[in-house]
């Protein structure tokens, strides 16, 4: 990756542009839905006047959902970027180490037991954390800790979770199947409150900023990083913990939404170059904007019926990514 010819524009203009895009995405998402609200009506609602129905639609339904979508997309993209640095593997994504599988087993168990949505989120989070600790403990094992070993452990644990999920789907009663399948596809309809995800995204993005230089060194490999004075082991630990936490929160908010965490970091690297000081905040903004747009489309294309958001992220992301890759030659 690092060998590709990148041009590195200045940090601030790039981030300003992405912030503007993110704001536009949220604005678009808040102003569209299965009920048409005109600009004048929207303005009235923002002034605290207007139809109470419109007020409910915008403040109770659309805004929390847009913010949750934005936060989830941002979390996944940042987690993906971190995993790609940690494993030095372009195929790494937030789920490659089995985190989403653990979360899925947690969430589906809660659904099988007929528990409510708060319990589903809670057990998804526990599942994700259990999975992260298991992978880390096993990869650490007898002391030697390499990215390859971590990757293999994660992939095998993910396969194990996959089998448990399939088993649960096979024994589940018919009426709970749609709920389970939609959870597995990822869906913002589950999002309760956007605040935990949003504040974590902001806090971790700020925390990671001063580490940008060390992360750049890590992306070149552990030997070079050590030569540049980076404490490699603690750095690897913190990247792993940060990425796991981000992913666990994203999965807890909206189920396992694929694609964003894999492709957004690559897209940004193709455009902005591989400078982690720029890439990480850019991922937060671009990942958030992409998922917000995708969710808006998912709930409006065949409104009032809803599509799973994962379909849209892939449909939007695949051509964009291929175009960028094609032009990067």
């Amino acid at each position: 990756m690092a060998a590709a010819s990148y041009h590195t524009p200045r940090l601030l203009p790039a981030l300003a542009l992405l912030s503007l895009g993110a704001l536009l995405a949220v604005a678009l998402s808040v102003s569209t839905g299965s009920v048409a609200i005109s600009t004048a009506e929207l303005w009235a609602v923002l002034q605290g006047e207007g139809d109470p129905l419109h007020h409910t639609l915008i403040f109770d339904l659309r805004l929390p959902r847009s913010l949750a979508a934005f936060a989830t997309g941002g979390l996944l993209a940042v987690a993906g970027a971190l995993m790609q640095v940690l494993l030095r593997n372009p195929l790494a994504d937030p789920y490659v180490l089995g985190l989403s599988g653990g979360a899925a087993v947690g969430a589906l168990s809660a659904m099988l037991l007929g528990l409510g949505s708060a319990a589903v989120s809670g057990s998804a989070f526990i599942g994700a954390i259990v999975s992260a600790i298991t992978v880390f403990g096993l990869a650490h094992g007898t002391g030697s800790w390499t990215p390859t070993r971590l990757l293999l452990t994660g992939v095998v644990i993910a396969a194990g979770w996959g089998a448990v999920v399939t088993f649960m789907l096979a024994i589940a009663p018919t009426e709970s199947l749609p709920g389970m399948l939609f959870w597995l596809m990822g869906d913002l309809a589950y999002a309760r409150s956007p605040w935990p995800a949003l504040t974590t995204l902001l806090a971790l993005s700020l925390l990671l900023l001063p580490l940008g230089r060390s992360l750049n060194a890590m992306a070149r490999g552990p030997l070079q990083a050590a030569a540049l004075g980076v404490a490699v082991k603690p750095m690897e630990w913190s990247i792993y913990i940060a990425a796991s936490l981000l992913t666990a929160l994203a999965v807890t908010t909206a189920g396992s939404i694929g694609f964003v965490g894999l492709v957004v970091p690559h897209m940004l690297r193709l455009i902005l170059g591989n400078d982690q000081r720029l890439i990480l905040p850019a991922c937060a903004l671009a990942g958030g904007a992409l998922l917000t747009l995708a969710d808006t489309l998912a709930r409006t294309i065949i409104a009032p019926e809803q599509l799973p958001v994962g379909v849209i992220t892939a449909l939007l992301g695949v051509p964009t990514f291929l175009l960028l890759l094609y032009r990067s030659r």
């Binding site: 839905g33 299965s34 009920v35 109470p52 129905l53 409910t56 639609l57 109770d60 339904l61 659309r62 007929g114 409510g116 949505s117 589903v120 096979a170 024994i171 009663p173 018919t174 009426e175 709970s176 749609p178 709920g179 939609f182 959870w183 869906d187 309809a189 589950y190 709930r299 409104a303 009032p304 019926e305 809803q306």
Partner: protein, 292 residues
């Protein structure tokens, strides 16, 4: 002389048994014929189990699939897998003389394989009120329990037509039928639930959606602003889905407290219990009319 008698008696026996051959059309309009009343029946869907018990053929039922939980006796039946994947060896080893399949729910290949092995399969596919009583009568004929089955069918038909008569001129009530919560799901006018809603003088606000069971968002419900919300729920005594609507005070259904629970198994399954579910629905809609 003696030999002649034997031959004659065999012939008579044959004629007698041929006389008791019974044939009914199944829901594919294929004739299912039995030489004698079925005595060893396996039901391959929970709905078929319930209908067989209602048709007085419960004692002929030797096995069922998982989630066959009504009536209580059904819980004790041996299981041959689930409706979407059953154990062919278990079915064969029980030597059934009749299988009640579910046309759109069972795996087609497995049913075909069972037929190819020489088993009699009745394909059931119930879509409306009429199908319930028709199926009861057919099951009665196949199992030789006609009196009980016909009585159950008549009871059902009478109950439904009494409700139809009672509510035919009732003022209409706009209803949102919620069948699931995460994701939020409803049904269109093709669904059994909507047939019951229409009978009670209700109008399904999402009746025109293209899909039988559709996933929708909260926004669409707020925009449709139904006068009543009817929800099933997980389990049979769960009102939490309805309480989720209370914060939306702009909804007419919330303002008038027209949030009603109906046990899903009585309104979503085409079985004789549909009568009690429909009756409950009609009463709820009448309550909603009284709150105008």
């Amino acid at each position: 002389m003696r030999r002649l008698l034997v031959v004659l008696s065999l012939l008579l026996a044959h004629i007698a048994s041929a006389g008791s051959e019974r044939c009914v059309d199944d829901d594919r309009n294929v004739k299912v014929c039995l030489d004698a009343p079925a005595a060893r029946i396996i039901a391959l869907s929970p709905g078929a189990t319930e209908l067989l018990y209602a048709a007085g053929a419960g004692d002929k039922l030797i096995a069922a699939v998982s989630f066959s939980d009504y009536p209580d006796e059904a819980k004790a039946l041996p299981r041959v897998g689930s409706y979407n994947r059953f154990d062919l060896e278990a079915i064969l080893s029980l030597k059934p003389d009749l299988l009640i399949g579910w046309h759109s729910g069972n795996p087609t290949e497995q049913l075909a394989q069972l037929e190819a092995l020489g088993l009699k399969v009745y394909y059931s596919e119930l879509r409306g009120f009429d199908d319930v009583s028709r199926t009861l009568r057919r099951f009665g004929e196949l199992a030789g329990s006609e009196p009980a089955a016909n009585a159950a069918a008549e009871h059902f038909d009478h109950g439904i037509s009494a409700l139809r008569k009672q509510y035919q001129n009732a003022e209409s009530v706009r209803v949102f039928q919620q069948i699931w919560v995460n994701p939020l799901m409803t049904v269109n006018d093709q669904h059994l639930i909507s047939e019951a809603t229409r009978l009670c003088g209700g109008i399904n606000v999402f009746g025109n959606l293209p899909r039988l069971a559709a996933r929708i968002d909260h926004e669409a419900v707020l925009a449709a602003n139904p006068e009543a919300i009817i929800a099933g729920g997980m389990g049979e005594e769960n009102r939490s889905w309805l309480d989720d609507w209370r914060p939306y005070s702009g909804l007419l259904a919330v303002q008038r407290d027209n949030l009603f629970f109906i046990p899903p198994s009585t309104l979503q399954r085409p079985t004789p219990r549909l009568l009690s579910g429909t009756r409950m629905l009609c009463q709820h809609l009448d309550t909603a009319r009284g709150r105008r």
